[in-house]
């Protein structure tokens, strides 16, 4: 056999042997990994692992246990799944207790999402306290100075995302002075006490149909006598964001009034005060009834919350 043919046979044999070996070891009888750990799971299984660990924490409140279950995973996996779960639960209007548990865990794991702000004890500033200013006798002008907490210290800034982001319309100014009139104007009732906020529920829900008006949600907070309550912090949350307003900053609409600009096709939750108690969940804009041939348009909502 000539040397060149010998080399060719040798080379072909080598390549064939290598190919057959790889087919056998990769396809026919590959290495079987039976002792894997969560970090090696496929992405969707990893996320489900995090979800399971977090739900277990909701059930047993054992922080050490959940941390050990999440230890082997990348922080990014944990953050992403936990954030998604919180947003899903907020949008679904789950109980405040569950959401607080989730928020506590998120804080412990250094995960943040705007939707959880309303449930985080430390992040929600207290309800602004309105101190009734005694009316000066010569000129009866009342000055309403919101306490420093009225400044939105933790107001989440809606980040540009693919989902429509409502833009908050009001900017709480440090002070506002009702237009001076001869009559004693806005008479602010004493600051609302937590028990009153705890007793609030949805008393009235009215669709506002005014063509050409930008879609919004009006919230009116009333006391036992039906009077408007100023200085109450109202939260509007949705799956990936939150917004806050304080009643009474548009005195021409009444002391208990606050509003939010909103977008269509988003489910909103309305909560009041630092309690974070969701009072209205799954609130969406709906089309207004129109006559045949008229162009359809979307209505706004007016919600009255009273004890």
């Amino acid at each position: 056999m000539p040397p060149s043919l010998r080399r060719a046979v040798f080379t072909i044999g080598l390549v064939l042997g290598l190919a057959l070996g790889l087919v056998y070891t990769w396809v026919i009888n590959p290495v079987r990994l039976t002792n894997t750990y969560p970090a090696l799971l496929r992405l969707d299984y990893r996320h489900d692992w995090v979800r399971l660990a977090v739900l277990s924490y909701v059930a047993d409140g054992d922080l050490e246990r959940v941390q050990s279950r999440l230890d082997s995973l990348e922080k990014e996996d944990v953050s992403e799944s936990l954030r998604a779960l919180i947003e899903e639960y907020v949008a679904a209007g789950r109980s405040p207790e569950t959401l607080r548990e989730l928020t506590t865990l998120a804080e412990a794991l250094d995960v943040n999402t705007p939707a959880m702000l309303v449930y985080a004890d430390a992040t929600v500033s207290p309800v602004p306290t309105l101190t009734p200013t005694p009316l000066p006798s010569p000129t009866p002008t009342s000055t309403f100075t919101p306490s420093p907490t009225a400044t939105p210290t933790k107001t989440p800034t809606p980040t540009p995302t693919s989902t429509p982001t409502p833009v908050h319309t009001f900017t709480p100014s440090p002070t506002f002075t009702p237009s001076p009139t001869p009559t004693p104007s806005p008479t602010f009732t004493p600051s609302p006490t937590p028990p009153l906020l705890q007793r609030l529920s949805l008393a009235e829900k009215e669709q506002l149909c005014s063509r050409g008006q930008s879609p919004h949600i009006e919230v009116v907070i009333q006391d036992e006598d039906g009077g408007g309550l100023p200085g109450v912090e109202v939260w509007l949350t949705w799956s990936d964001g939150a917004d806050r307003a304080v009643t009474g900053l548009k005195p021409e609409r009444g002391p208990g009034y606050a509003d939010f600009n909103v977008a269509s096709d988003v489910a909103y939750t309305v909560s009041v005060g630092e309690l974070g108690m969701p009072l209205v969940t799954g609130l969406r804009l709906e089309p207004c009834p129109v006559e045949e041939g008229e162009e359809p348009f979307t209505g706004s909502w007016r919600l009255v919350l009273a004890p």
């Binding site: 790889l22 002792n35 496929r42 299984y45 692992w49 399971l52 277990s56």
Partner: protein, 101 residues
Amino acid sequence: MVIGWWLWPVTYTNTSPSALREDYHDEYVLMVATAYEVEGDREKARERLTLLDSEDPSAPVVRLAQRLIEQGGSEEDVARLARLAQSLDATTPALMPYLQR
């Protein structure tokens, strides 16, 4: 074979829960039972358990519960597993007492 098995083996980064080490496997089953308690979604629990045993999804739950009973594990964990087993129609006499808790 040296190349295929040791030097350059098939790498597994997208594994399924069925490949988990025994302790993680147990944690997974226990977490499924606990999540079922929170969410009450039996079909979701069954779907997750199918990843461990496609023919009898309740089997890993019953096996773990019985092992925990034998080893004197947490009664709370056993009770959770027993409740999930019951919802999957897989209760055994050994699990019955834990359904009352």
